[in-house]
Symmetry: D2
Subunit: 463 residues, 4 copies
């Protein structure tokens, strides 16, 4: 992948619709950008909960026949981000378990900072685990609860958990949606033909022809009754500091999603404009790194009154079965993913807008491509602050400790990526452009100010 | 597909490289936008010509193992456009045959207007055919030639053929590349590590780390010797009226390709600028239909001084195994491919830039999406003239006779697609922006002025 | 399937061999007759336990690459019987879990009669389950044990379990093999190139070029150290009444396996001879139902001095993807699996030897086939007693309550299957021919005398 | 494969049945033993001929959906033998072509001795070939015919062809079945629900619930009208010396097939009896090489009054995706395909019955297996004469020139395969047991007396 940040997961749920599995398929498909490693759907029908999951894209995992076979009037689904390491079907979600309360299936986007300790505590009590996912501790805790109903049991379980969780839970009595007390990960409520929907992003509600109703509140649990007639909302936990992950706006979410009323494309474009004001540049054209930085680049160009050009073209057909070129071929110049437009950049001074720099290797690679295509100058503009601190709430910055900005000043980074100039936004910019409109955001990766304290030996696996 | 024009085919060839099959794989992969129905590679190694082809994307058809098994120092490859009808493996290319001259494999982009007559003539002489592809007549004609060498035999064969052909031919003695006398389809020559390349577009030469050398001339045959030491060029046919298909610039080619020295993205942007001058519009924002119209839209916006916005987001993950929603779900509003950004367009006057209108159904659909998302006005601007006449040289306008512009005036079309206003470029604009820079173009689909006369009962199948 | 008894599972293990996964593959392949629904292998290498399992045959689930990727010096594997109902990947084995003791993987052939109660007890303590397999209670019980080492923990766990279990367990310290106190299911020890093997049947030891060492004793646990240098044996449980399942000889095991020193083919042939003495018949030829009854049929023929003929031919190519004919085609006479040799049986009096009658439908079908092929008389001889009582130790007689012999006398059965005569062996015959040579056998399905008492609400799922 | 003779092909056809494709599927499935490399079906429906073919077993190539999609009221099908070399989809049959007569599809079992010359002649006339199969010359010759109807054109084409051909041909006007003038390969006519069937073997007629009508005569062409109302028979060629391949009885055909009224199992058993009379042996037991020699072995045992034992067990699950053990593992004793029953043969004198010896390597391997399992003596008895001359009519004795009997006397062969004694039948035995009942047989592989003269440079590829 061209991006150094591993994508997150996405969740989707429908209750009370005769085509619940089918809608879930299209909902997940619209959330595919949040995870391409694995996909899964669990449905409830009279005889119990049925789960189908597999490695790959939504369209690889499910066939017309398998969706029809699932049936059911309630369904939850999950897409999982792609890891660079080994493929792990066991970690695919939803996770479906049987316990004394009956069957339960869970799909989770986020990361628990105390999963390891909870797991250890459960293990010494004799619990066994079948995955390496954080998520598996949740049903264990639910099973330990003596509460008289599922809602209280979930509340009991989640009161022990710290971190980020946008969670959908399928049980015979209905579907539960939970957002953690800080609201790190997005989760919103929608409606389609009288049935309720829960979705990581609003674009998936659009995709199934539904209507956005509202965001879940931090610390809220909603319960949608089996036949969706009823929607019950509980403020299950005292809300913490509201801390929606700012990277949803910067990189993760689809441009056509709205989060807390702010459209993602518009937000990115506004960041690009801000960047043009803050770090102007005397150049010939502006270009963005496809696809996530195109909005910011067009904002920069407009504000700066410079032409917005497609300086780099991305090949969209890379799939799981694509044969990656060997090192020797890469050295020989085989360029599979990104190709610069030589005729456009040759002899020109180029502003390259990107959304973030994590390790710096991708930026150096792209600057090099542009120079090889003849660019006279390459000025890099980043529509976020330097990424200095690892995220513990769900972003996998593949190899931690390799955050270039944690060790280098801006000018050192500039040299490292071989740019002619380099500028970032700062947190105040983000707060101004985004935070003021949507409520508090989590900036921990830029500031080190973690809204939820960390466990000492944290090394979780994102759900 | 969101576009009403079936994509074309792409061809690629490498001679004299120890990793010919591998480079061919990456070359075809870079040409994937020209055809997703089937892919194939034929190689020559000591023991003969070996062909592998299959339905689907390049990455579906070939595995690491199958590319390694192919081996060889000369390779040709082909990607084929996707038809709406039945899947036809038999029509996948390259087509490999055995004849008295030995083995020969052919890959072809284009369409022969007299294929049916040639085929009939061959059949009454006792020839048998195994495909329904135009291309198969060529090896038959080659086999009939008594010429003393392959070059002359090809010349003999192609002298009987009329229409569009960008052709690569693999034989034990070397690879031949041929462009028809009118040069309808692009074909260019490149070089990588001492080996020669032939490619439909320059972006695929970039992709394999190669260097663009030159376009082939209309009516030229180049022969690249087995070990690529030698390049021989023959003006095989008197050149006809130079007539490169203008739709390569408008829609087919990848934005990072250059054709006759003109970059495709730059060309589209210039068309967008021209459109803004010619058909200005008092509106709030400009948006394009992804992906092919984005360049034109950004040109329009820049020229008009209006914001360029991502008014429509396209889901990029649609694959062969995707389950298309049933009619009932589409009516219920399931939106899989394109989603408008409601928050952006709501209450706004929108300029929608598209590259062409063929049947009009897609335009009406998109205008409707924007209105449903709250757009107050939708002004459609098309970066090409009305598409009035069927193409016989390789563009499959799926259902002929359904060309909306062949039956309606502009204002009628406007009503049919429910736009507030509608404007097109005209041929003089194309000639001015494109034609003057690249030499003559074929505008037959706009003008009905066909550079090569048609057979009466033409009903070919694009190669 | 032509047989009314669902096949059992098979287990295989290798410790201390550099090609453990590969040998496990060939071992499972030799045990394929014991289960075609799913296959799985778990290996231990430095970094932990890795599991790969899937639906289908051993050769479908594993590729050369996946076996190489598994690697490791210790491996256990499992093949699972095919159910008629839904496909359940979740129930495939080995089951690999993580607990406070570390990682553990289990593969199990047999059935636990108190699994449901154990599961209930575990659930009310807060345990969660991810499969419907009996086997999953075992790691839960192991995790609950406070014992200082794995051996004692296994002993603790299994002391609570009642029923049939031939178990192989992979842990970082070595592989454990366990046979239940009654020894219902076969499990034997072998040796290959200095490494130890555990296998359900001796034929798989032969298949990997190994040497049979001995049967495990009922109630024995063997521990094979990580590098196989050490073999430790513990009489973990007081042996119960020795009760090897007699159906291993009658139907399950491969003819080239030896169990407790008795070859399976030879045993079947001896049963056929006994049947000829006990229930002679004036007929023209003897034929068996392929494949399991061919040995018995040839024994009958030899003893009776009648020709042994291939009266029925079985199509061997039926696979998972075979399209079963619709009812209308079956009624029209489409005969896919078995075809009688008309020319051989036409006008003849036929002795048809089969190994058992469970529901009676298969027998009636086969008698009908022979009559339609012209057989004048069909005399059915069964090389086991009437199957009257359900098995709770691992044989899935698909639809319980449908045991024809539990409701009918022999002559009623004869009428039901439309045979001219019908005879069975009785338990005394089995005891005489088999039991005397191999020690005590379990005849519960014939006698209702269950060696291990049943739980009241038993309804387990075979492992 | 355990057998040194490559299997042949099988053909099947149905005309005038609403489920023609489905019946064809089941017919091919019953002929699967004749070829496992590829399978294909061509059907005619209103709009033309549709062909589907692929590598692998019938059940791999076709799905429920693909059979339904084929549809049609006329169908022909083909299974192709497995080669050891590269996989060649291009050679799969039926071969479907378009010519001036219209569409035509052919499926062929046999081998043409003059294919190379015919091909050469066609090529110098300008014909091109797309396969390396002999069969492709036939449609070329048909296309050259100026005859007024298809029957005459087929007659014209086949009059130029020499060799073995059991051919089914699908055209819009009906299906043609042709047997060559010598009748080398079997082809018979059946009937099912008013529709006609053509099949290589009678077992496939049984499989689809049909009724055997008669064998085709050597040199006969039957034409089954489109709706099967009509059956027209033409003695198209003067019959040559009747020469049915004797190996159909010895090895190829399924035991439940009848050929010219003689059942194949019965024939093999009679050969075994004859062998017992001619080459008796003082031994303890008789065993056969599974599966083709089991009938002969039981005949030998009965005649000799010795026990017939299952001395070798064959693993039936070997499929295309099976991972063959490496040389080092084979040397280490990994035994995948065949396992001897040690306990049965240990210390015994064994008569091993096999149907033929071609290169001798398999026989030596099996004798070795039995000795390693403890056999005191191994006496090999072959139910056919020494195989001395290559077959040019359809049997692929993989590496020609390696026929052990062409270079060695019987006692030398005995030494080479390390048997204690060795005996063959002779041609007079075959003539006595088989030939007298079915008319003349081809014994060329034993005698060198070829019924059809060979071309000098023959090196065809079986169809």
């Amino acid at each position: 992948m061209s991006h150094e940040i591993c994508e997150e997961c996405g969740v989707f749920a429908v209750a009370g619709h005769p085509k619940a599995a089918e809608l879930c398929y299209y909902g997940l498909y619209a959330l595919q950008h949040r995870g391409q490693e694995s996909a899964g759907i669990a449905v409830y029908r009279k005889s119990g909960i049925y789960t189908r999951k597999g490695m790959g894209l939504v369209s690889d995992v499910f066939s017309k026949e398998s969706i029809r076979d699932l049936g059911g009037e309630m369904a939850i689904g999950h897409v999982r981000y792609s890891t660079t390491g080994e493929s792990r079907l066991e970690n695919a979600q939803p996770i479906t378990v049987k316990m004394w309360r009956g069957e339960m299936s869970l799909a989770h986007n986020g990361n628990l900072v105390n999963a390891r300790q909870l797991r250890h505590t459960l293990e010494v009590q004799g619990s066994i685990f079948q995955t390496t996912s954080d998520t598996e501790v949740i049903p264990h805790l639910v099973a330990k609860s003596l509460a008289g109903n599922t809602l209280d049991a979930l509340r009991f379980a989640l009161s022990q958990v710290r971190g980020a969780y946008a969670l959908v839970v399928l049980t015979p009595e209905g579907i539960f949606g939970v957002k953690d007390p800080n609201g790190f990960r997005p989760l919103c409520l929608g409606e389609v033909e009288g049935a309720y929907i829960l979705s990581s992003e609003s674009c998936a509600i659009d995709a199934v022809g539904g209507r956005f109703v509202r965001e879940l509140e931090p610390g809220e649990i909603v319960k949608i009754g089996h036949l969706s007639a009823s929607l019950q909302s509980v403020r299950a936990f005292p809300p913490g500091r509201a801390s929606l992950c700012v990277f949803e706006f910067i990189y993760f979410a689809r441009p056509d999603s709205d989060i807390y009323g702010l459209n993602v494309h518009a937000a990115r474009k506004a960041l690009g404009r801000r960047l043009a004001i803050k770090a102007p540049c005397d150049a010939d054209l502006v270009t963005g790194v496809p696809d996530s930085s195109l909005s910011a680049a067009s904002g920069y160009a407009e504000e700066a009154g410079m032409p917005y050009e497609m300086g780099l073209v991305k090949n969209r057909y890379i799939g799981r079965t694509f044969i990656a070129p060997e090192q020797s071929m890469r050295e020989a110049g085989v360029r599979i993913k990104l190709n610069p437009l030589r005729r456009l950049v040759d002899g020109k001074r180029v502003v390259l807008v990107d959304d973030s720099i994590v390790r710096g290797t991708t930026s150096r690679h792209i600057v090099g491509l542009l120079r090889a295509a003849g660019a006279r100058e390459v000025h890099v503009r980043i529509s976020s602050p330097p990424y200095r601190y690892p995220c513990y709430y769900g972003i996998d910055t593949s190899s931690r400790g390799e955050l270039i900005a944690s060790a280098m000043e801006v000018d050192e980074i500039r040299k490292a990526i071989e740019a002619d100039s380099l500028a970032f936004l700062d947190v105040a910019d983000l707060e101004d452009v985004l935070g003021k409109r949507v409520g508090s955001l989590c900036y921990a990766c830029f500031t080190g100010d973690y809204p939820v304290p960390l466990a000492r030996d944290f090394d979780g696996d994102c759900g």
